[in-house]
């Protein structure tokens, strides 16, 4: 049972454009929603994270929008750059289970010149 659904599977954006990746979750016990960035041959690295009591969090060009009632959250990458080309994973953590993360299936982003 996939508890975190991510879309799209792949995304092509022109340099300077906005990249938007969406995730939906089912379990209301999730209390922490991070986004990870993964380059080929590397492990995932934490990009930005949000808790459900906040509707938006911004760090530089990266913004998470969170809709608790809809059980959805999204990553926006403003002014997308070729260096942002990577695979992005959303994830969610269960309440009360320390730091166990459930990951989405990933979005492969390509930023073209």
């Amino acid at each position: 049972q996939q508890q975190v659904k991510q879309s799209p599977q792949s995304l092509i954006v022109q340099k300077g454009g906005i990249s938007i990746i969406n995730c939906a979750y089912e379990n209301t016990a999730f209390d922490y929603f991070p986004w990870y960035q993964q380059f080929p041959g590397k492990g995932p690295a934490l990009l930005i994270a949000i808790r459900p009591d906040v509707s938006e969090k911004k760090e530089g060009r990266f913004t998470i929008s969170f809709n608790k009632s809809a059980k959805q959250f999204s990553l926006h990458i403003m002014d997308s750059q070729p260096g942002d080309s990577a695979t992005y994973f959303c994830a969610a953590r269960y309440t009360g289970t320390a730091s166990k993360l459930t990951f989405g299936t990933g979005t492969r982003l390509q930023v073209t010149l």
Partner: protein, 115 residues
């Protein structure tokens, strides 16, 4: 600060053979995780250690997979015997632990190919 170290980086074995992966977490990190990442999918937690005790191994195929974290530092993950469907990247991650920090830091992974 040194990151999470893993070895080997790549391994090719035949089905029914055995294989072992090694992980050295960030110094001082009490919690260690092993994930399996199949091509085109997100990482799936196999086992989580808190110091040298197992916190969660609910998704570990215990008939063929085993893991240990002796002395609460380094960890090894073993597969015996390997199946074709075990082909994946095996990621190790660590975090400070309860009350100190839950952010997980990942190593580069070991890419396993079972032929």
């Amino acid at each position: 600060e040194a990151g999470v170290a893993q070895s080997p980086r790549y391994k090719i074995i035949e089905k029914r053979q055995s294989v072992a992966f090694w992980c050295n977490p960030i110094s001082g990190h009490a919690t260690l995780y092993w994930y399996q990442q199949i091509l085109g999918q997100g990482p799936k937690l196999l086992i989580q250690f808190q110091n040298n005790g197992v916190v969660d191994d609910s998704q570990l195929p215990k008939d063929r997979f085993s893991a240990e974290r002796l002395k609460g530092v380094d960890s090894t993950l073993k597969i015996q015997p390997a199946k074709l469907e075990d082909s994946a990247v095996y990621l190790c991650a660590s975090s400070l632990g309860p009350g100190r920090g839950y952010e997980q830091y990942f190593g580069p992974g070991t890419r396993l190919t079972v032929t």
